[in-house]
Symmetry: C2
Subunit: 309 residues, 2 copies
């Protein structure tokens, strides 16, 4: 998790990822009275930043491990990301998905040549099934967010943003499993003078906010948020980094998420998923006047047939 | 309409427009087996390329003319564009809109400080009302597409694309009133070695296709196309340019437009309006294997509450 480690992670995964563009909008800057720089990971391969961590995690395996493939459980962006990363690196990927996952999500994994293994739609069944596959095939389990190599990989989005805009006062990103914000915190610590990292989190799944208050990892009893990527909880690898480096987690309501999402769609003409809108909603909620602020637009995987507006 | 004229037009309007990004997509390139370069005018100010021509037309007026303002009739992107261009240049804009225009379109014009003047929803009423305003106020009438200064301005999108990618084999753009494709033809003629210009047009409003066949400007009796920006007809200033320089106009069905639009939304994560999808649909329809092709994504002004998918 050192500066050199993050730098070499970036060099390692560079050939397999896009250095995504950073967009700005005069209208939005006027609205918030600040300078916003949107790092567009919705344009990333497989539509989200997750490919960064997935690629790094696979590349850090030994050759022998790689021959046996990788396994994860995810119904979201990490499923597609690990599937595509494995395809790019020519190894096998097993993706455990709940049997009630939408067919469109299964198809996305299959398109990238990952093997979908269905399980009962419970947390326990997911982990058990993944463990069974690991035992039977020798595949290495890669956690979507609580893995040091995944965290480093996710940090390269903020690293690229800071390379392009070194004088940011703050970077905002959404908080789900904690991989992205922990990686972002490492990038800001190692590659900026004074850039502070803020998290945006749905009020309906505010486990990270509560974890920072209590000092231990809290869970969500319910997670009725449209930001489907943020229903997960922090882990043992990323929580200590978050506790140490994050300035503040700002919670936003479902309406604030939808309004922020609509604003980006209509004004910036880009598709972003609800989870990405959470970071921008956090900026809209508080006052960051005259600051230069980076925003990680984490992904653009959204069902256009089922929009909240 | 000379090379120098187009170049100086670009220099003139540069401070008032964005040099929009050119995006690519590996997935789409694989799909069409060609290299596509999307010039994203959906990211342009006011959400479409129209600001280019509107700005140039205003700037070519004398100071005395500018003091009396400008007037146009449009219910689409040119209405917003002229309103914003006039605001940037600190002059008055009167926008004649049919009384049945959606309120959201009127609001967009008002937001940029243009004055909306309603008229009966007929072609005659539009022109009559615009003429009355011109007489009463001394405002200069600016046509949305059939004006040499507007045509030059619209050509600067292709000029920028060719500056970034000088070796394009072809550029595709949609054909509505003919301003964009005429300007694009001028840019390709003056600033490329061998780049050919193709138009995409809805089968349901194929007046330009028929005009090239008959050799005179044809009209649409009906124009039941989702590509609302392309329901208009060619004009005396742009038709001769189109006749001389355009390689081919490819017609596409409504389904082909919607499928092309969905493909861009889902794969490229950008909002494009149906008119823009027409150019891409034309590429999908024919075989342009191994060619380097520019595509003018003309605009991104679409009602997200009323999508065709």
């Amino acid at each position: 998790m050192t500066k050199a480690g993050l730098k070499s992670c970036h060099e390692r995964i560079k050939p397999f990822i896009h250095n995504t563009p950073v967009l700005t909008s005069r209208l939005i800057n006027t609205l918030v009275d600040a300078e916003l720089y949107f790092k567009c990971e919705n344009f990333q391969r497989a539509g989200a930043y997750k490919i960064r961590g997935a690629t790094n995690a696979i590349m850090q395996l030994s050759e022998a491990q790689q021959q046996n493939g990788v396994v994860t459980h995810s119904s979201g962006n990490f499923a597609q990301a690990l599937s595509l990363a494995a395809k790019s690196l020519n190894i096998k990927a097993y993706i455990v998905m709940p049997s009630n996952s939408p067919q469109v999500k299964k198809n996305a994994v299959l398109e990238y040549a990952g093997e979908v293994v269905e399980c009962e739609p419970t947390i326990e069944a997911r982990q058990t099934t993944a463990n069974q596959i690991a035992s039977a095939t020798g595949a290495t389990f890669i956690h979507p967010s609580n893995d040091p190599n995944v965290i480093l990989g996710q940090g390269t989005a903020a690293l690229e943003l800071l390379q392009e805009h070194p004088n940011l006062d703050a970077i905002f990103c959404p908080v789900g499993g904690g991989g992205l914000i922990a990686g972002t915190a490492l990038a800001a610590t190692h590659f900026s003078q004074h850039c502070q990292v803020y998290g945006g989190e749905p009020l309906e799944a505010d486990d990270a906010y509560r974890s920072l208050l209590s000092g231990k990892i809290e869970t969500n009893i319910t997670a009725n948020t449209i930001a489907d990527g943020l229903r997960t909880q922090l882990g043992s690898h990323n929580f200590p980094i978050i506790k140490k480096h994050i300035q503040q987690i700002i919670r936003v309501s479902e309406n604030e998420i939808i309004e922020a999402m609509l604003l980006i769609w209509e004004r910036m003409k880009i598709l972003i998923e609800p989870s990405s809108a959470v970071a921008f909603a956090a900026i809209l909620k508080e006052n960051f006047k005259n600051q230069k602020i980076g925003v990680i637009i984490s992904g653009g995987n959204v069902d256009v047939n089922n929009l909240p507006f």
